[in-house]
Symmetry: C2
């Protein structure tokens, strides 16, 4: 595995009038920026990557994050959730249960 | 697992003068379009998703595709390679060896 964790953050943008909304409007970019900074701060850039993604088809749950190879989906993620995701999931191997989109397990 | 295969295709764009190049200039969008069409044609949209991705940090290998949860990386992918990836890997479970970026295994 090239990355121990490959983290995809939806940054899809839609027109503001689109009823589906989008993860960009729900803070996707800020979440990815926070994740990138936290990985750097903790020296984890070699083992985990904060990747931008297009639409992950989970618009109603935005901002959405999916972590592979585990296939763990998080919804409603805010930048302030990022340190917990990194500490508990990426470092400790324990997904952050309160943020999981359970229907996707 | 929400998707049996979640396929990320790099569509990152860089300035044409950037020496790293980018997957967009190497056909990333056409590869994803071909993959999306092939999945639809074969009725596989429910089990596999053709996702757009930002830079996958494999620029020299573009166009780059990574398939999760397996973590199989493909480089130099062209639209005409897509039916083989779908048939052999996504349907048959046998990655297309000639396209793999072996250093990422």
């Amino acid at each position: 595995m090239r990355f121990r964790h490959h983290v995809f953050v939806c940054e899809n943008q839609r027109d503001p009038t689109d009823p589906r909304g989008c993860c960009s409007a729900r803070g996707g970019e800020a979440v990815r920026a926070a994740l990138k900074a936290e990985l750097k701060r903790r020296g984890l850039q070699g083992s985990a990557r904060a990747n931008s993604a297009g639409c992950l088809d989970a618009c109603e749950h935005g901002a959405v994050v999916v972590v592979y190879p585990e296939g763990v989906w998080y919804g409603g993620v805010r930048p302030e959730d990022v340190p917990e995701i990194v500490e508990s999931h990426l470092v400790g191997g324990r997904p952050v249960e309160r943020l999981r989109i359970r229907t996707y397990d």
